[in-house]
């Protein structure tokens, strides 16, 4: 009996006795490995919204006419070298970059450089939803595209290197929208070939773009492999290959980066961040995120229909305790919807101070001196805008108990939570928002306009009009004025208890150079090199 066991032990020894791939080998191979939290949903950004798709498709494979500079909120020319805006602000003329090459892949060999036809197709497919293209291939999974596309009258080719976009009404967010990850430019030549062969769906599985990486292979639930685009207009990527590996479990991702099996990783949880800080091989660069974590007060339901009650709950909340315990000290206390440094932010507006005495008086004035019982809904998710919803709710429970408000914490499964929230079944719900573009419009419109089923259900027609005014002008001063008025109304009415703007951090191994965490929840990898 001894022999087989001995043999098995030897076999196991042979299997286990080989070292794992060390980080040095990865660097030597000039292959950058990024561990992502999930697979991309597909490779045509017109259909998808998830962060992982933005990284694996939007940023790796494509460009836009205008780009947000990596790590900042600054706009810079992308596939358009420059653009002009007409005096009535209804027409944008884009002058396109010359000599931009589309990817050469196993499935497509471009015969020409990027030109106006590509821009026409890429933008028109959002605008004209009855086009033959859209009938054969659905786009517009992402609602925000409709906001700008509905305002476009036409996209015209002036000459092969010039495109003009005409708008129904001026839209100050238009250029930022052109830099949004979903405004990527696809190859009209490739799309034409696919359409002719009745295989348009391949746009989403066998992508062709102008971006820094050329997709080589996608192994479902495993990895996407890329080669550097040799003729990339922005300069060849600093590593030869890129692998975006799917590692869904956040604890496993943390182990993998510690083991040197990935160079950069996505979305660590706060508790893992603490452990990583003690690892000398890992750095944790961070950036202020474009987001806001908040508690929505449903103003259509008693007793939150009373302004005094909402204000009392805001005053009773020890925001700093939440920032310390939930955001592990990295959140920025929020006084308004948009974070500091962004158009619309009013530096004079400070977060409401913690004042339980005043809160008690306000409750008494509202006829609720003995307090009341209320449900607080907590979604089962963790986000940068709020890394631990449950803990937040527990702190609120303790804070509000001091003014006589008894909180019952209610949790629903995520899909159920969203459904009920949209139906307005909640009285108080924890949730938040992460912006897709660096424009205040992307904060205000989804969170305080009457037409949207927001977590507060707060509807003040004057606010809608002010936001409309701000959108219709490119005059930054005028916009700022309108946003400040809205800020003041929100501060007075308290439809939300604004908690904090969460910071974005990403674990990066020491051998990685040139990586910048991006405030727009994107991971940009072609500027990264390995020591």
């Amino acid at each position: 009996m001894k022999r087989p066991i001995f043999g098995a032990a030897l076999a196991l020894a042979a299997v286990t006795g080989l070292t794992s791939i060390p980080a040095a080998a990865l660097a030597q191979n000039r292959t950058l490995v990024f561990c992502a939290a999930s697979d991309p949903e597909g490779f045509d950004m017109a259909r998808w919204v998830a962060t992982q798709t933005i990284d694996a498709a939007g940023m790796a494979l494509y460009n836009r006419l205008v780009e947000f500079e990596a790590g900042t909120l600054k706009l810079r020319p992308g596939l358009a070298e420059r653009w002009e805006v007409s005096n009535d602000e209804r027409s944008y003329t884009f002058h396109l970059r010359r000599g931009v090459r589309f990817h050469t892949t196993e499935w497509f060999k471009p015969t020409r450089d990027f030109n106006a036809d590509d821009v026409m197709l890429s933008l028109e497919r959002y605008r004209d939803r009855n086009s033959a293209f859209n009938k054969a291939y659905g786009v517009n999974s992402y609602p925000y595209n409709n906001t700008w596309a509905a305002n476009v009258v036409s996209v015209t080719k002036v000459d092969p290197q010039t495109v003009r976009v005409s708008l129904k009404a001026p839209d100050s967010t238009f250029i930022a929208n052109m830099a949004m990850v979903t405004s990527h430019i696809i190859s009209a030549e490739y799309a034409g070939q696919l359409q002719q062969a009745n295989r348009l769906a391949e746009l989403d599985t066998r992508p062709v773009g102008t971006g820094p990486w050329v997709m080589r292979r996608y192994d479902k639930d495993t990895a996407v492999r890329y080669d550097a685009h040799p003729q990339y207009w922005g300069g060849r990527a600093k590593t030869d290959r890129l692998i975006i590996q799917t590692v869904k479990d956040s604890a496993v991702r943390a182990q993998k980066i510690r083991a040197g099996e990935c160079h950069i990783s996505s979305d660590p949880k706060p508790q893992e961040v603490q452990a990583m800080r003690s690892d000398s091989n890992i750095t944790l660069p961070e950036v202020a995120g474009l987001n806001i974590g908040y508690v929505g007060f449903n103003v259509t339901r008693a007793p939150l229909d009373k302004r005094e009650v909402r204000e009392a709950l805001v005053l009773a909340t020890n925001r700093q305790a939440i920032i310390d315990a939930v955001y592990q000290g990295t959140g920025i206390a929020a006084s308004q919807l948009v974070p500091p440094g962004m158009l619309g932010h009013d530096p004079a507006l400070k977060p409401t101070p913690h004042d339980p005495d005043k809160a008690r008086k306000l409750l008494a004035a509202a006829g609720l001196a003995n307090g009341f019982e209320i449900d607080v809904w907590v979604p089962p998710i963790s986000r940068q805008y709020n890394p631990d919803m449950r803990k937040t709710a527990e702190i609120l429970q303790a804070d509000w108990a001091r003014i006589g408000v008894k909180v019952k914490i209610v949790s629903y499964e995520w899909g159920d939570f969203l459904k009920r929230l949209r139906a307005g079944e909640h009285t108080i719900a924890l949730i938040g928002w992460a912006a897709d573009i660096a424009d205040p419009d992307n904060f205000y419109v989804p969170l305080v306009t009457c037409s949207r089923p927001t977590a507060s259900r707060w509807c003040t027609p004057g606010v809608d009009a002010m936001l409309e005014t701000a959108r219709r002008t490119t005059d930054a001063e005028q916009r700022q004025k309108a946003y400040q008025q809205v800020n003041a109304m929100i501060a007075r009415e308290n439809p939300y208890l604004l908690l904090a703007h969460g910071k974005r951090w990403q674990p990066v191994r020491r051998e990685v150079q040139g990586f910048r965490v991006d405030p727009l929840t994107r991971t940009i990898l072609h500027e990264v090199s390995l020591r």
Binding site: V15, S20, V252, E413, D416
Partner: protein, 342 residues
């Protein structure tokens, strides 16, 4: 022949039941795919409705069910509601990974289980017997998730600090640097075919932890079954006769007793297929194993009804198929099953 036909016909209502169950289970999940995909970004009710219409989810449930059934009869499992790829294609891409893992787990269960069970039976009442049986109770009741994480902590994390050369990989099917094109879908075969030095060993090393985790339950069950069956056989006349003929203990046990004792063990092995599929869901999730289990878990999270229905359907069919095969096999081996006394 009539018996065979009857057995096959009984599969039909089972399959119909599976389609209904898979459909109902998918729809019973709260929320819908559009809501889950867009999350807090759903701010426009009209958009939400439009997307539901696009996916055909605005239709009454019975219409959805019968159109699903109609497509199924035509051999079409539909397309993923999330990424639009055919469900069958996804299944065929991912299934080899699950099969490979399940086969390794099965080998571990059978070899380990039979060996330990035999040792326990031969040393009945000894400390080794008691120890092994206590371990088998532990293995039988060990929650897979906990066991998987424990092994990762031990064999990947702790060992990496203590003896890095012996540490096992945390997750995946092969070190990501090996660029092995999928030919058969079985990583052991593909890595061997790729000719890349070290690729095969890497694939083998990646199989150790998930294989052990998935195989533990079966190993425990088979060990107990082998022990009790062997003990029963050892007391039978033909074994006594073999001993009386002064055959060596090895021949008595190996050639006579074990062969007979393994017949009921085979039943247990057949039943393990269902348990392996269930266990694969958790094992694949822990070890980032790109197989059917994790695919189904994702489908649940994303409310991808088409994948959920198709995946449940195909995996259930497999279990039904294996059970049917086992039944038929018994019928062939044991005529009493084919011709039951009335």
């Amino acid at each position: 022949m009539r018996w065979l036909l009857g057995r096959l016909l009984r599969v039909v209502p089972t399959i119909l039941g599976i389609t209904l169950l898979a459909f109902a289970l998918a729809r019973l999940l709260p929320g819908d795919p559009v809501e889950v995909m867009l999350g807090e970004r759903i701010t426009d009710a009209e958009q939400h409705r439009e997307q539901l219409v696009r996916l055909g989810l605005d239709q009454p449930l019975w219409v959805q069910y019968f159109s699903y059934l109609g497509r199924l009869l035509a051999g079409d499992l539909g397309r993923s509601l999330v990424h639009g790829r055919p469900v069958m294609d996804e299944f065929l891409t991912l299934f080899p990974a699950t099969l490979e893992l399940a086969l390794v787990a099965l080998v571990i269960s059978v070899v380990g289980g039979v060996t330990l069970g035999t040792i326990a039976a031969l040393r009945r009442g000894s400390l080794a017997d008691q120890g092994l049986m206590a371990l088998s109770v532990l293995g039988h009741s060990m929650p897979i998730y906990w066991w998987g994480l424990l092994l990762i902590m031990l064999c990947s994390v702790w060992l990496r600090d203590v003896a890095p050369a012996w540490a096992l990989p945390v997750s995946g099917r092969i070190a990501v640097l090996f660029d092995v094109p999928p030919r058969t879908g079985f990583m052991l075969i593909d890595s061997a075919l790729s000719g890349e030095p070290g690729a095969f060993t890497s694939a083998l090393r990646h199989l150790v932890l998930p294989g052990v985790v998935l195989g533990t339950y079966g190993l425990a069950v088979i060990a107990r079954m082998t022990r009790s069956s062997l003990l029963e056989t050892l007391n039978q006349d033909f074994v006594r006769a073999a001993r009386a003929r002064a055959l060596s203990p090895w021949r008595v046990v190996g050639l006579h007793a074990l062969r007979s004792a393994l017949i009921p063990v085979l039943t247990v092995i057949g039943m393990q297929v269902g348990a392996l599929m269930g266990g694969a869901v958790l094992t694949e999730t822990i070890f980032s194993w790109p197989g059917i289990g994790r695919w189904l878990v994702d489908a649940i999270y994303r409310r991808d009804y088409a994948v959920l229905q198709g995946g449940l359907m195909l995996t259930s069919l497999m279990v039904v198929g294996v059970n049917l095969a086992v039944d038929l096999l018994y019928g062939l081996i044991d005529p009493r099953i084919r011709h039951p006394r009335t």
